[in-house]
Subunit: 488 residues, 2 copies
Amino acid sequence: MVQQSPAFLLLLAAICVSAAHPKTARFGMVRRLVTSENEAVLPAEFVTYYYTQPLDHFNYKPESYSTFQQRYIMNTKFWGGANTSSPIFVYTGDESNLIPLIRFAGFIVDLATRFNGLLLYIEHRYYGDSMPFGSEAEAFRNSSTLGFFSSTQALADYAQLITDLKRNLSAENCPVIAIGGSYGGMLASWFRLKYPHVAFGAFASSAPILYFDDITPQNAYHVIVSKDFRDTSESCYDTIKQSWFEIDRVAAEPDGLLKLGQIFTTCMPLNSSQELRDSLEINYVIAAQYDNPPDNLVSNICSAIDGAPLGTDILGRVAAGFNASVGAPSCHYVHEFRLSNLSGWDWQTCTEMVMPIGYGANETMFQASPFDLGNFTKSCQDLFGVTPRPHWITTEFGGHDIKSVLENFSSNIIFSNGLRDPYSAGGVLQNISSSVVAVYTEKGAHCLDLQTPSPSDPDWLVSQRDTEIEIILGWMAEYNATLASKIV
Amino acid sequence: MVQQSPAFLLLLAAICVSAAHPKTARFGMVRRLVTSENEAVLPAEFVTYYYTQPLDHFNYKPESYSTFQQRYIMNTKFWGGANTSSPIFVYTGDESNLIPLIRFAGFIVDLATRFNGLLLYIEHRYYGDSMPFGSEAEAFRNSSTLGFFSSTQALADYAQLITDLKRNLSAENCPVIAIGGSYGGMLASWFRLKYPHVAFGAFASSAPILYFDDITPQNAYHVIVSKDFRDTSESCYDTIKQSWFEIDRVAAEPDGLLKLGQIFTTCMPLNSSQELRDSLEINYVIAAQYDNPPDNLVSNICSAIDGAPLGTDILGRVAAGFNASVGAPSCHYVHEFRLSNLSGWDWQTCTEMVMPIGYGANETMFQASPFDLGNFTKSCQDLFGVTPRPHWITTEFGGHDIKSVLENFSSNIIFSNGLRDPYSAGGVLQNISSSVVAVYTEKGAHCLDLQTPSPSDPDWLVSQRDTEIEIILGWMAEYNATLASKIV
């Protein structure tokens, strides 16, 4: 079994974070840690291109006609060619530079091999190398330059690029299957729903499309985090649950922050206990969200907590868990997590991707922290000068009563989830119809199925991917039958 | 049989013109003629409200958060109430002031009576009393103020208004059926396709959703106009066909324009023969498009042409037809038809609603006039400072290969047409699936089924409407069954 390095884990966390806790965007910093890895070199068969996109698809002001260069990457190595009906697998880029996404989501290459597919990865506007206004600095200057940064614009980008590309390749007969994970999975499923004439099917991994408005209980995310820990070890769960009180108690003592800094070996003196609590919380949250084999992040933490020498107190145990989870560095940099005006995802949560994730008292292993739209709105106004539209996603894409709405409407969508993923609480976990289906595993976490398959993968993961392949085989059979009937 | 006055015919033409010939927007002037009738009083049960809409749904610039007041009109007289599953019939307003639309489309009131429906008419942004920037003058100032005027913004307006209204009425269980004619019919069908979570079904009358890009032959519109005349009278058709050459011949003579002015009793001396030809052409086009009983506009023209005294020459006959069609005024005001920067519809054709209607030589009873995107683009740039996006509608809404795309996707759409309507060439005339269906008549023309039913309606029209009612009954049965299964 290959043991991944902690650096890899951070990278992984960065790649497939769809949707940060909106109160503090806890994943933002993690994402920035991996910037230097973003531009890693891909194998030569992945070729980079740029497409000229209009700045605004839905508006006809002069400014809307400005353009930017959108990066996309193709791999034609496995493709059957334009004169066949071989599929085009379109990776609907999400809140990240495209390169690490490609490295991460190796299952798509498997699919291309199996289906003689063309691989087309499209970078989401305002990420990576797809910056309007010429540079990230200009694009992120203020809400006037960021204003064009939205999911609907991104979907229209994909529609326009794919339509043009298929025409240029004379590949009109090649069906498009949209694939994405997390936020990219939402985009993939919404793309099928909004652009069925462009995407014939969608494979949405760990896409919490129901974590908007009042559809999913606000506490559900952290309930699953807590359950992941509790299922792993009741005593570990209890220790963490009690630790917050202990942190507060020590922090209130004279020199309490100094003492906490020593217990948790922070690199700098603590300015507040919030810094420590935020750092611990994101550590648990990431562990749960990516609690996938072979890393078993929750087990690692709990082993350290439970395995501390007899007589170790609660904070000592929690500190041991913290050390174990990040590879026992000589000291820890801890920060209070806040929205950042350099984070594209934070802009998105401050405008439309308002996931009301919070939690009341006694429901989780965390301290109570209800989602507060008023506070959140104020933070967004202060930071970006923008006011969130918390009902927009359900107005534009639906979500309420999804089974009734879609059971006789739509087809060819896979919603895959791992139930250890806290975001699975907002995922589609029930078949909507015979061809809009939920494929989930009890043991997997966030976006596991999209990862490059490995010989060490457990049977349940192999089986999940086999199911997904079977479903896509069915779509292709349907597509080819329709195509044949048209030719006859 | 009630004989309608010519003024009514002009009004009717203004109400249900979806889609002008893009070369010259020939219906623009007709529309402006009826301005004074727009604000006619409706019965008291039609109550006017205003909804505060954001200027731009897809953009988060500060300016996008500006709002305007969108007019909507409700009639609750027939409604079963919020605690039932009585439907909400939403009239998706099109390129007109809302009031004459309501007066025109009386079949919807019939539907409301029959289904205990709530009637909700929503005015399209930038028409009637739903002007951004406070006034028509401000809204139409330039391409920066007009930029927010698009079909996608209009659909999002409808989604947001309906969602809010249903919540305010506690009418979440009442299914929405979108209804519209012509451009409004396109909007109704697109609304069902894009917002299935808001609209449970759509009834799209005379909606030429396939008259975009290269889907429908460019000449098809005028081929049907010509066929309508030829089917009515071969000699009438021949006379019209020969008249253009005669007009050109006379115009080339010394004092030719003066002579033409006398033959056609124009109120002012002609500046060019184009003025005359345009006026005649729109006259024929309107006659064909609204060649509905009891008016039989094509017959009226052809009777006059064919019935002119023996020995009347071609131009004399055509002039007699012209006189007959507009109620024999003492003289005719004729104009060359051009795009107008006061016309909302002309803005729409100059941005996204680019219907490439044209025609080559010898295909129609008209002189050859191919659609010329270059010229059209230049006109739009000169007039509005805007460049058309001719592929946008098919990118955003599809249209190519519609049967394959939608047969296993979507449900509950009626596409109704009358085959005498030239726009039926771009309509859906084939069932796409068991619940996305085409309902058409050989004899009807544009939007006839939406008109207020009358005892004098021919059997085929009664039968068309009965079919439409049957289909909606089926939708309601499906809806109620699903609702019942949820309650159980």
